[in-house]
Amino acid sequence: MVDPIPLLDIQELSVEFRTRSGVVHALENVSMKVHRGEIIGVVGESGSGKSVSAMTAMRILDPAGHVTSGSITLGGLDVLNASEEVMQKTRGHEASMIFQSPRTALNPIRTVGKQIGDVLKRHGNANRQTVHEMVIKALNTVRIPDPERRIHAYPFEMSGGMCQRIMIAMALSCQPELLIADEPTTGLDVTTQAAIMDLIRDLSKERNMATVLITHDLAMAADYCDRIVVMHAGHVVENASTKDLFAAPRHPYTTKLMQATPQGDGALDDIASIPGGLPDLRGDLPPCRFSARCERFEETCNTSLLSLDEVSPGHFLACRRPL
């Protein structure tokens, strides 16, 4: 079922930000593959490099960020060396992104119908006659009730969940092959979150899209993703199918993250807290960036460079002393 050639292939990607107070090593040797019809979850604390990876893949990284090594291939296109013109065509058409806060990502002074229409006119061969019909169709796919009326609404007239649906409609209006959803439900209610996530899952299965779901909620990733990539301080520490990961997590950070997530039943004492915070990403860092917070740390951990190795079929791990 799964296509052997991944749609998005990130290989050994390193990104650094040159700031006044030093060089921040935001990503180091990050690799991940996304196939068609697959939903990949990228989880980690804030500051672990989830969004930077996604933005680099779309090449919308802040000018302060520099790719120092690695390669990104998106459906045969070398993203890092493509011209800006080609990238502009690719974005929206082959790959599109849903941003975190729908209210700030939408233009407040244009109606949502016009904003979806803009995308369609730019990428989707719509002209003035057909654009209205296509916008209605786009609103229908994201199950917005009464699209004929909603097309004239401004973002402030809609609820947070509705705005997020508009964002999804914009992202999906041109049938992209890759969808990157950057914390699509943060700040939304649980009921709305469930509706939005169901919608993303149904649409991506229906269209055989490759989907990257960036979240810090491990429980949500478990519900919706086929494969989970755990990131910590700019490293991929574990990459496995959801089933394998939850059955037998190998990296100490993954286990901690699972234990820290409230599960519903169970007492407060069962919840573990992860000591310390993310290390300062400026300057020299040990090969294992989790070593300062790890309970299983030993001298051997930081002797030489760590790499992401396949410990069992489809299960990748970067740890010297796995569980």
Binding site: S159, D189, T191, A195, G264, G277
Partner: protein
């Protein structure tokens, strides 16, 4: 257990429409004079007839979607806004009759404290952590002596696990978890009897959230406070609270012991809320999903269930009669037409 806070028929309505000239009495009078139009001020029913009790040493959870009136209720309970109608009795004294802008003069101000939602936004950026924690001590307790103040603030910082070298820092120099600790230290500085926590962990990472939750449980044990814990994270509420109130569009639709509500929810909205929690462990049988948005809270129909239209089991009767309150278990009640009281209670 004696009751610490008692809320009776609490209501908050907001008039819709500006106070500009078009809304003034004279213009309305003229308008009515000329057009014979019935002038009706539209009202947004943010909180509509709420009754509940918080006992001494109890932690009560308050859950519901955004826009259901949780924050308005919190603002009224903490006496930051006035209420339209109803009574709030705190430790035997009716505090709802005191205007909100006079409440800081009352001794109850220091007994009823609140930890606000966003730890980043709710700190004064020009106050160091020390000043932030010392402020309520200076203002409400009249503590002016420097060494005494310093000693007390350091003690509080130790209680919430904030290293004392950080006390000289400004909010932008602190991490999210540290800011949350400063917020909590500020609230407990004046030894309140009731602490209102408005989504204290929603802006934090899971790794930090666990630490803060444990801190809250420890503080409750050490200081004997009662909590009102407002959150939309149901898993967190379940961990921390003895009793839970579920709100929908300004009304309480279900109330009961936490374990009862989570294992055996009665109201269809509570069921949908639980089904929406990611993690899968709570899902039993069919998955319920809510479509659409809540009804408008502006002048809701008093003779209809407010959940009607989104409710998966809604029937004709729901749009004609307001649902009754049904006792479904030991101190567990819910508001719905289709509930059966247990055979023998």
């Amino acid at each position: 257990m004696t009751s610490l806070l008692e809320v009776n028929g609490l209501k908050k309505y907001f008039p819709i429409g500006g106070k500009g000239p078009s809304g003034s009495g004279f213009v309305n009078w003229l308008r009515g004079f000329n057009q014979n139009v019935q002038n009706h001020q539209q009202m947004l029913h943010a909180v509509d007839d709420i009754n509940f009790i918080i006992s001494n040493g109890e932690s009560l959870g308050l859950v519901g979607e955004s826009g259901c009136g949780k924050s308005t209720l919190v603002a009224m309970l903490s006496r930051l806004t006035d209420c339209t109608a109803g009574q709030i009795t705190f430790a035997g004294k009716d505090i709802s009759s005191i205007p909100a802008n006079k409440f800081h003069l009352q001794p109850e101000r220091s007994e009823l404290q609140i930890v606000f939602q966003d730890p980043h936004e709710s700190l004064n950026p020009r106050f160091t952590a020390f000043d932030t924690i010392a402020e309520p001590l200076r203002r409400l307790k009249g503590m002016a002596e420097k060494t005494e103040l310093a000693r007390k603030v350091e003690m509080l910082a130790e209680q919430v696990g904030l290293p004392s070298p950080l006390l000289g820092r400004f909010p932008h120099q602190l991490s999210g978890g540290q800011k949350a600790r400063v917020n909590i230290a500020r609230a407990i500085a004046v030894a309140p009897k009731l602490l209102i926590l408005d989504e204290p962990t929603s802006a934090l990472d899971v790794s930090v959230q666990a630490v803060i939750l444990k801190l809250l449980v420890k503080l409750k044990k050490d200081l004997g406070m009662s909590y009102l814990f407002v959150s939309h994270d149901l898993n967190v509420v379940r961990l921390l609270c003895d009793r839970v109130i579920v709100m929908y569009l300004g009304q309480i639709i279900e109330e009961g012991p936490a374990e009862q509500i989570f294992t055996n929810p009665a109201h269809p909205y509570t069921k949908a809320l639980l089904a929406a929690v990611p993690g899968g462990k709570l899902k039993t049988g069919e998955v319920m999903r809510l479509e659409g948005d809540p009804k408008s809270p502006v002048d809701p129909d008093p003779d209809s269930c407010r959940f009607y239209g989104r409710c998966p089991i809604g029937q004709d009767i729901c749009s004609r009669t307001a649902p009754p309150e049904v006792v479904v278990g030991t101190s567990h009640s819910s508001v719905c037409h289709f509930l059966n009281p247990p055979v023998a209670v």
